[in-house]
Symmetry: C5
Subunit: 161 residues, 5 copies
């Protein structure tokens, strides 16, 4: 039984944690999901690290940074901390941040948060159980929450020159 | 008996440390509060780390960065250090920064500093004693010191699509 | 038998991992190549660190950051993490990032990604097997994916003044 | 006998190290002062760390960053390193940076450098010998080298609301 | 016999490594110089750390960042890594970066690279063998590669006020 952690925030305007937990449960019975909530994104790094050290194999870190310049700096600090936490534990943390200025209105924001969370939960699942599937998707321009960018056009001929 | 640390600065124009201590004391008798003051926000990370290693379960780091570009950089450095200190100790530090340009005048600044400190002190209390309460508040757009942003409108239908 | 790791992303729009593996295989039989794919560039640092600790002598980290401001921040965070991972393992990670706005169209982007990957794979090979060759190339303005800048003109006389 | 380190730079245009040493000596006989000089501010972090590990209880790091954008980045890197060094040693480093564009002319720059150094030396002294004095100064808007900002006006009534 | 490391890059358009080695050899027979070359500036931190852990007492890290915004970010990442490497080893790394946009033409760039490298090599020598000489130069506005800024005018009277 593999264990996966889910950490989200009270600052977020969408309950991304519940979306992630629900998606992970639907992916299969071979997963134990452990959920935590912290106030804001800067509280994510140490909480994720704690979960990884308590036995989680991977953690999904969910957050919704605001649209001001200060919020962008917070997101940068949180991301730096999440990478640091991974290097200290030798395990992955999948960062799922939805910036409030990525969507023009509340409804779109909710949809984007939902889609991105679901797709990243699937990625976390693949990383744990089917890493070879990720190799198959290498260089295919995957995007989470938006339409995939896809591989470059004319790329094959350019590459196999 | 859980122990909570409070560290603030002489640079701040509001005595945020006293506000935090007073709020924490009102939250219940099951808390021992330890207070320290340092000159500026860049001195917070190591002081918070010391308190955590001396037995505090959580620390509240209070600061009031100035409005100049240099002050913003200082705040970024301090925040990065606070996250690093958490990763080194496996404990939370709740950062409570009030930027001087967040308020148009002294009186509003004092009110903002007070409200944000009080609300973060409550968060720290919940993190220690009732973490399940934070899960209940996940994704509800909590804000400290300002009115809550609340959850997105129309979010439920978008999410449970 | 030396071991070299290759890690790329599903976010990239070019399968840089396959290009690197193919180039490394053509460079000689004295190399064992181990390939992994992660979702995005922020997932590279810990994956590269894992490969180095599992016995790789060097790792090539391949990514294609987007053109938005947020993407530039992601790339900075990933790069910082890659340098940190090297300092923690005492081994080199060769970062090969192709920014999507470095090329005017898909075809050029594919060509740039291919050329830069191939040239960095050669560098990684030299670092492992012929480090003295790098000393011979010191200060010659080598560029990966674009034409070399070359040494400064008139530099010899200025230097041996 | 407590030990305090002083590290400054040859890049600075004011001999801040001598000012600090002189001030510290005037503060009392119960201090042993150890002085070092490095070329620039990026050399400060490891030198301060060395002093702390050789027995200093606290170190004052003095520097004078230039006015160009590159100099601002250097100062940021140095500050980040100084915070990191503190977290690694569990001791304080008091950073005293005077940016060359903080003063309109040489004479004012010298005065600012002198005043800021003296006031920070006093802070370092308080941190070592009378930390309770810092708590008394919490939230009073202390500034080093300029006039104090003071506590916010009308703050008491707003706070004790 | 003290050991000093020299690491430069193939990206640089001037062979700064040879300049440093030559200058160090001219400074005296009591030095063993070990030279390495890496592809770019982001490869410097771990290579310098390796040299320090293999017995070098100090390392000179030479690089020539490009003029684009991305190059500035690379330089910042490399500098951050170099400071981190120093904190991990408790030894100095003297960073010698010449930004390509510091000089208007190739000839000036070569001259600047040469002068800065030579002067930093002298600093490294002083740090190892005559640290007291650096204290004598404290606050004198030393610059490497350009004319010294010198101490502030009227500074003495302002300082000894």
């Amino acid at each position: 039984m593999r264990r996966i952690g889910v950490v989200d925030t009270t600052f977020s305007r969408v309950d991304m944690g519940s979306i992630a937990v629900s998606e992970l449960r639907s992916l299969g019975p071979n997963l134990k999901v452990i959920r935590r909530t912290v106030p804001g994104i800067k509280d994510l790094p140490v909480e994720c690290k704690l979960l990884l050290e308590e036995g989680c194999d991977i953690v999904i870190a969910l957050g919704m940074p605001g649209k001001e310049a200060l919020d962008k700096v917070c997101a940068h600090e949180a991301s730096t901390g999440l990478i640091h936490a991974q290097l200290m534990t030798n395990k992955h943390i999948i960062e799922v941040f939805v910036h409030m200025d990525e969507a023009p209105d509340d409804r779109t924001l909710a949809m984007l948060a939902r889609n991105r969370t679901v797709e990243h939960a699937k990625s976390a699942y693949l990383m744990l159980f089917r890493p070879e599937e990720l190799i198959r998707l290498a260089g295919t321009g995957q995007r989470q929450g938006f339409e995939d960018a896809g591989p470059v056009k004319g790329g094959k001929s350019a590459i196999h020159h």
